[in-house]
Symmetry: C2
Subunit: 244 residues, 2 copies
C-alpha cells in the first residue's frame, strides 16, 4: 500500500470518527426517531452524501454508535473483573461497574433500547452487526469466566452451568434498569431518584447471586468493605459518585 493510500485511510477513519462523535451527541439528545441526518451533515460540515459513504442506513449509523458505547462498557467490565478478592467480590465489582456506567452515561440506555426492535437490525449492515456481537460476546465472557472460577474455587456448586449464571445476571441487570426507568414502575416502587434505581439494580444482582448460592451469601459476609475497595481501586477517578 502506497503512502498516499495510507494517508487516505487515516483521513477516512478520522472522518468516520467525526461522524460517530457528532452522531452520538445528536442521538443522545434527540433519540433515534428524531435523529436527522441533514442536521448531522450540517453539524460535521460535510454533505449528507458523504455520511452515506460511511454508513449504509441511518440504522447502521446508530448501531455503530451503540457498539461504541457497548465497547466502552465492556472495557469497564474488564477493568472491574481484575479486582482482587473472592469470586463473588469480583462479580460484585462487575455489577458495580455496570451501575457506574448507567449513572455516568444515563442516556445510553435509551440507545440500548433502540436495539430491541426487530426492524432495526434488518436495516443495519452485516459487518456492523458482527462488530456488535463481538462486544456482546466479550461482555458475556467476562461474566461467565468469573463464574467458572467460582466453581473452581468452590464458591458455586460444580453442577451449575456458567452460561446460565451469566444469562441470569445479564437478565436481572438489563431488566432492572429497564423496569426502574419506566415512570409507572418508578411511582409504584417509590424510586424517586436515579440512585434509588441503581440501588434496586444492585439489590437484584445480590438476589440472583444468593439464588445460585454463590458463597459467601449476602447475609454471611459484610460487603461494605468490598464496596469501599471497589470504589477506590476500580474507580479512583470517580469524583462524580456520591451515593453508596
Amino acid at each position: 500500500m502506497s503512502v498516499t493510500q495510507q494517508r487516505k485511510g487515516r483521513e477516512r477513519a478520522a472522518r468516520e470518527e467525526l461522524i460517530l462523535e457528532h452522531g452520538r451527541r445528536l442521538l443522545l439528545r434527540e433519540g433515534f426517531q428524531n435523529l436527522n441526518l441533514d442536521e448531522l451533515a450540517r453539524s460535521i460540515e460535510y454533505s449528507k452524501g458523504t455520511i452515506y459513504l460511511h454508513v449504509e442506513t441511518k440504522e447502521d449509523l446508530a448501531l455503530a454508535i451503540a457498539t461504541g458505547a457497548l465497547k466502552e462498557r465492556a472495557d469497564l467490565f474488564e477493568r472491574a473483573s481484575k479486582f482482587t478478592g473472592l469470586t463473588r467480590e469480583r462479580m460484585r465489582a462487575v455489577g458495580f461497574a455496570c451501575c457506574q456506567f448507567a449513572i455516568v452515561h444515563r442516556d445510553y440506555f435509551n440507545i440500548e433500547m433502540m436495539l430491541r426492535s426487530q426492524s432495526f437490525w434488518e436495516k443495519a449492515s452485516e459487518e456492523r452487526r458482527r462488530q456488535h456481537g463481538l462486544q456482546a460476546g466479550r461482555l458475556f465472557h467476562i461474566v461467565s469466566s468469573i463464574a467458572t472460577e467460582a466453581i473452581r474455587a468452590g464458591d458455586l456448586a460444580p453442577e451449575v452451568r456458567t452460561q446460565d449464571v451469566a444469562l441470569s445476571l445479564i437478565a436481572i441487570t438489563m431488566g432492572s434498569h429497564i423496569a426502574s426507568m419506566q415512570p409507572d414502575i418508578q411511582m409504584l416502587c417509590g424510586l424517586t431518584d436515579p440512585f434509588a434505581a441503581v440501588a434496586a439494580v444492585r439489590r437484584n444482582q445480590d438476589l440472583i447471586c444468593d439464588g445460585w448460592s454463590w458463597k459467601p451469601l449476602l447475609k454471611e459476609f459484610d460487603y461494605t468493605a468490598t464496596d469501599k475497595r471497589i470504589k477506590t481501586e476500580i474507580f479512583p477517578e470517580a469524583t462524580w459518585y456520591t451515593a453508596s
Copy 2:
C-alpha cells in the same frame, strides 16, 4: 343521552375495535416502523382520515394496541393468582402464566419493546398513556399482593418490602425474555428453541424467589406436582402447550 347518540357511540366503538384488530395484525407482521397507515386504511375499508378520528398519531394507535395486549396479560395473571396453594406456588402460577403468554403470543414482545423508546411516549395521547399505566398497575398489584400474603403466612421475612419483591420479579422476567430473544445471547447460552428460552425465564424466577428466601425454597420442595396442577387447573384449554 338520546337513543341515536347511544347507537352512534356503539358504532364508533365497533369501528375503533376494527381499527385496533387490523392494526394489531399489521403491527405484529410488520413492526412499528413498517406499519403503514395507508395500508391499514385499505385493510379496514375506510379512509386514512377516519383512522385519525380515532387516534392522534401512529404512536397513539400502537400504544392502544399494546395496552390491549397488556390487559390480556393482566387478565391471565389474575386468573393465575387465584390458584390455591402455598404463596410461592401461587407466585409460580403467575410466572407460569407469563411464560404461557410469551409462548402463545410470541410476537407480542416486539410490541412491548417498542414501548421502551422515549420518543414513542411523547407522541402518544395522555389518555392512552393513562390507560396503559392502569393495566401496568394491575399487573404490579397482583404480584405484590401475593408477596404481602407471603409475609402474612410467614413464607417471606416480615422486613421484606413487597414492592421490592414485585420489582425484582418483573425485572427478571422482562430481562430474561429480552436477553433470551437476542440472537447473540441465544448462541452463547445454547438456547436453541423457544422452550429453552422459556425454561431459562422460569429458572431465573426461581432464583429470585430463592434469593428472597421465599419458602419453601426450590430444593426443599418438589414443585413438579404444582406445575402439573397449574397446567390442569389454570390452563385447561392449553392443548398448545407441549414442553414441561
